[in-house]
């Protein structure tokens, strides 16, 4: 009996050290092993991981040691199949060939090689990582932030930040902004120390991004720009695709034909907007759009001499940086046309500044204000070259300034600080300007990203604004159109169907020889019935939560879950304490003020 067991144990003892087939050791490998397997160097590996979106993992058991980085085996296999690996090898071989040919003074070969450089692009990665367009939109926050950041960075040879990086980042971010203006997608703006936060709603997704302040940027020494540039490379591809799709959905050409000459661009857009207006005809919308087209035409004629004038100026100012010119031209050309077809269906809040004409002083942040004001329907000019209208224009309603003394004050306009624009936009309300006049300390700039009701603490100014909003909604809405063209695109189909039915019915009656007046007599009134059909009351139900259920729930929890639950409760209590403290301080401050 002992013999077989002995034999068995012996065989186990002499088991050859094969690769493990299961467990943590089989699932995860260290970074060095991954490098060996993929046959690439570390920087290349890092780059590839960023591009493919692969992160290191934290296995439960770190079989090879605790100070090592682990990757999932499947992730590495995924990388091994990446066509970019081959591409980078091809590129390397190609570079070698060129250096070799150079060294041998074989200039013909060099010339020929330079002509067929292996193509390197990340298009397939965008498709792979974002299978649907909504996925890409959801993930757009970081790409936009990076692009806007790079758009403001100086070029730097030591960090390999090349002018073309800056240029393309700038172009893409401007295209994005132009789109936001065009569809009035901007929702929130917050100016912080870090920069300006924007939130836009595109395709039902809230997209938040941060742009740096328009001051000269210093490159920090503790940032690895190689990593940043890898991200930039991928994000450029991604945002390029997203912009293309957004423009294309609107029926606009991409890239927009704007940056060459202002005049030409304006014409092109004009033609394009006309095309859009006539493309809309799905029943009721069509005549309306065409009607607006007429108005737009008039507006265009008004604008035209100005456009030509500014074009002349632009032409004379050749020395100016082309980048700056572009920045001014593009958003300028887009919103003008953008007003036309869609304005009517839009929420009144997004055309908050529609009636106003703004003039920006030289000292205010022009980029941000241009974007915000235009995104809410206002017309803007500035102190500088290429401005659409001069400071002396009588029709200017608001001048945005940030220095205490003014050379010449026009009585017909209001002089406000930049914060007024941002606060108006965030609260979807035209705030009274007296709190924001030049020289005064403005009310606190409250963040629109903080829901003060959920937070529990409502700052004083937020309360004031809330009261104003309530009052404004009671009043007749100033910016709303009296006529309600509620029919959206979806319902036009229904309208079409009913129209079609009515048309065939009438025609058959008429062919049968029944005249209109005769048909009216016999006709039972169908119209009101149809209207009644459309009306359907919506009953909202509210289910009250019982306190008992919560208690019961707590008892039924596992110990782990209960621990989590208690921790959450503790967090809430802490928050409440903080709010109490704030309130107490406020009370004290008030009492002090009264004493004085």
């Amino acid at each position: 009996m002992t013999k077989p067991t002995k034999h068995k144990s012996k065989s186990k003892q002499y088991l050859a050290p094969t690769r493990r087939k299961e467990g943590q050791a089989a699932k995860y490998i260290t970074r060095n092993k991954a490098l060996n397997r993929l046959q690439i160097k570390l920087p290349e590996f890092r780059r590839l991981c960023i591009l493919k979106g692969i992160h290191p993992r934290e296995p439960k058991k770190k079989v090879e040691g605790h100070n090592k980085t682990y990757y999932h085996v499947k992730d590495i296999a995924f990388l091994a199949h990446e066509p970019l690996l081959d591409r980078s090898r091809e590129l390397k071989a190609y570079e070698k060939k060129i250096t070799k040919a150079r060294a041998k003074r074989n200039l013909d070969l060099v010339q020929r090689l330079l002509g067929n450089k292996p193509e390197w692009n990340l298009n397939h990665l965008v498709n792979e990582r974002y299978p649907s367009f909504v996925d890409a939109l959801r993930d757009l926050d970081d790409p936009l932030t990076i692009l806007h950041l790079f758009a403001w960075l100086p070029t730097d040879n030591s960090q390999k930040i090349r002018p073309e990086h800056i240029e393309s980042a700038r172009k893409l971010s401007l295209q994005w902004q132009a789109y936001c203006i065009r569809v009035r997608a901007l929702r929130k703006v917050f100016v912080s120390v870090k920069g300006v936060y924007y939130q836009a709603e595109v395709g039902g997704q809230n997209i938040t991004w941060l742009t740096p302040h328009s001051t000269s940027q210093v490159l920090p020494s503790d940032v690895d720009f190689r990593v940043m540039l890898t991200f930039l490379e991928f994000y450029k591809t991604l945002v390029g695709f997203v912009n293309f799709k957004l423009y294309h959905d609107l029926g606009l050409r991409y890239p927009p034909l704007l940056d060459e000459k202002l005049e030409k661009a304006a014409n092109e857009l004009y033609g394009l907007m006309k095309g859009l207006a006539s493309a809309a005809p799905v029943a009721e919308e069509a005549p309306k759009a065409a009607g607006e087209d007429g108005d737009a035409e008039m507006a265009e004629q008004e604008e035209d001499p100005r456009a030509v004038e500014s074009q002349v100026r632009l032409a004379s100012l050749h020395s100016r940086l082309s980048a700056i010119d572009k920045e001014q031209e593009m958003p300028a050309a887009v919103p003008e046309a953008a007003k036309e077809p869609e304005d009517e269906d839009m929420d009144s809040s997004v055309k908050l500044f529609k009636e106003f004409k703004f003039f920006l002083g030289r000292e205010v942040p022009r980029e941000a204000l241009l974007f915000v004001i235009r995104a809410f329907g206002g017309t803007v000019s500035w102190d500088g070259e290429g401005a659409p209208f001069p400071e002396s224009d009588e029709s200017i309603t608001h001048q945005i300034v940030d220095r205490p003394t003014q050379g010449h004050k026009f009585l017909s306009r209001e002089y406000v600080q930049p914060q007024w624009v941002f606060d108006c936009v965030n609260n979807k309300l035209l705030l009274p300007t007296d709190a924001y006049v030049v020289g005064k300390i403005c009310p606190p700039h409250l963040s629109p990203f903080v829901d003060s009701e959920a937070e529990g603490y409502m700052p004083e100014y937020a309360e004031t604004i809330k009261r104003m909003q309530a009052a404004a909604s009671d009043d007749l809405p100033v910016f709303e159109k009296p006529e309600s063209n509620g029919e959206a695109d979806i319902s036009t189909a229904d309208v079409n169907v009913s129209l079609e039915k009515a048309f065939t019915r009438d025609l058959s009656k008429e062919m049968a020889g029944i005249s209109y007046s005769a048909s009216l007599e016999g006709k039972v009134q169908t119209a009101p019935e149809e209207q009644e059909d459309k009306k359907s009351g919506e009953a909202s139900q509210s289910i009250p939560e019982a306190d008992e259920a919560i208690q019961m729930g707590r008892m039924m929890m596992t110990r782990k879950a209960r621990g989590l639950y208690d921790a959450a409760k503790m967090g809430q209590a802490k928050k409440a304490a903080k709010i109490d403290l704030l309130k107490e301080r406020k009370k004290k401050a008030k009492a002090k003020g009264e004493e004085k």
């Binding site: 606009l252 034909l257 095309g275 859009l276 309306k288």
Partner: protein, 435 residues
């Protein structure tokens, strides 16, 4: 009658003036007068009829600013933003009345292609692998036998000189080939004559889905499931060499049919990534193609280069070029909408018209050969619709088919022919279009 209209007057009256291009007996006085704004087409039609004093009332359609009135005048003015204060000029035209359906012609299988190019005959292609030619009295006079698989599409070859004597056409089939047929029309007798193809156009590596002939009649182009578009030369001059080549091949392969000559493709257009569903070659220098890859491309014939690409949101199944200036591209497909593009507009890729009324895929569309407003669509919902681009709803819906409609065409300018999955060829006659 006037009194009843007077009774209907609510509050709104508008000054209108009726104009028309119709003959003098159908013209009304050109002075302006007031009518109630709540009148629609039906009401206005009665007003005009009363003014004309015809013994038999005739229905009219009304054009305001080049658009057909389909709502009430009041709604129309509101939506268009036209002021009701000025005198409104309304043009009236006779209404397009529904045509009379004729006795359907039965086939053995689905009717996938139909052409009414020839004024005396209708050509059809069917799923039983045969093409047929029907005369006006409803008899099948020719049976085109030669394909070994379903015929998907057919194209008549325009032959300006000899159209009276003979009729040439090309059929495309799922057997990867196209065949060229020549029908001598004086042979037309009461009994069915079986014909063999004259030429076999071979070269596609998959089913051929669409075919179109050049305006000169010398060439045809075909689109296939292998995503390419091929150009074939049918001219007599080159026949000698083709014949030789054909002979050689026949010797090598042990030919199938001794009487038919084989023709190879002259040029291949690559670019589409999916089936080419519709082709149009009505302009000498340009071929337009619609594909299931959602795109609509135009190709320069000389250079074989894709000159323009328009994109839709769904697969496109059919294409027709016509309308105003013979330049509008109409294409329908998987999303129930007929879209019409104007490729001449700068800076935009958006369609100029979107006509929606069908409830299923659109399988065929065809502009009227003479009129610049009328277009015909066939759909899988079993209807054929006639559209006027000046209105957003169809003029006429024809629902004689009991199953999907696969093809439709005009015949003799005032007839509509359509074939469908109920194996019937329907003919609708006496359609009176005013253009």
């Amino acid at each position: 009658m006037d009194t009843t209209i007077e009774d209907q007057v609510v509050e709104r009256q508008i000054q209108v003036k009726f104009v028309t291009k119709l003959p003098p007996q159908l013209r009304v006085v050109s002075s302006a007068f007031a009518i109630p704004a709540k009148l629609g087409r039906y009401g206005l039609s009665e007003v005009v009829n009363t003014l004309l004093g015809l013994e038999k009332p005739q229905p009219f359609d009304f054009l305001i600013d080049g658009e057909l009135l389909r709502t009430t005048v009041e709604q129309f003015l509101l939506t268009k933003g036209i002021t009701a204060e000025t005198t409104l000029t309304i043009e009236y035209i006779p209404v397009v009345l529904p045509p009379e359906p004729q006795q359907p012609r039965s086939h053995d299988e689905w009717v996938s292609a139909v052409s009414g190019y020839n004024a005396r005959f209708i050509a059809t292609g069917s799923y039983d692998n045969h093409g047929r030619i029907w005369n006006a009295s409803g008899e099948c006079v020719f049976l085109l036998q030669g394909h070994s698989d379903v015929i998907t599409s057919l194209a008549p070859i325009p032959a300006p000189g000899s159209s009276a004597k003979q009729f040439q056409l090309v059929t495309a089939s799922k057997d990867h080939t196209l065949r060229f047929w020549q029908v001598a029309l004086n042979e037309a007798t009461s009994s069915t004559v079986t014909l063999k193809p004259l030429k076999r156009l071979k070269g596609h590596t998959s089913s051929v889905q669409s075919v179109a002939a050049s305006p000169s009649g010398h060439e045809v182009c075909s689109g296939s499931w292998d995503t390419s578009i091929k150009l074939w030369n049918l001219r007599e001059e080159t026949e000698g060499e083709e014949d030789l080549a054909g002979k050689k091949r026949r010797l090598e392969t042990g030919a199938v049919n001794s009487s038919e000559k084989q023709v190879d493709a002259r040029v291949t257009f690559q670019g589409h990534t999916q089936v080419v569903g519709g082709l149009d070659w009505s302009d000498r220098d340009t071929i337009y193609s619609a594909s299931w890859d959602h795109s609509l491309r135009s190709w320069d014939v000389e250079t074989a280069v894709n000159t323009q690409t328009l994109t839709s949101s769904k697969a496109l199944h059919c294409l027709s070029v016509g309308g105003e200036g013979n330049a509008l591209l109409a294409a329908g497909g998987a999303d129930h909408l007929l879209r019409i593009w104007d490729p001449r507009l700068p800076g935009t890729v958006a369609p100029v018209f979107q006509l929606s009324s069908h409830t299923s895929w659109i399988s065929a569309c065809k502009w009227h050969p003479k009129s610049s407003f009328h277009i015909l669509t066939a759909s899988f919902d079993g209807t054929v619709k006639l559209w006027d681009t000046r209105a957003t709803i169809p003029l006429i819906t024809l629902n004689q088919h009991k199953d999907k409609v696969l093809s439709a065409d005009w015949w003799k300018n005032d007839n509509i022919v359509s074939g469908g999955a109920d194996s019937q060829l329907h003919i609708y006659s006496k359609l009176d279009l005013s253009f």
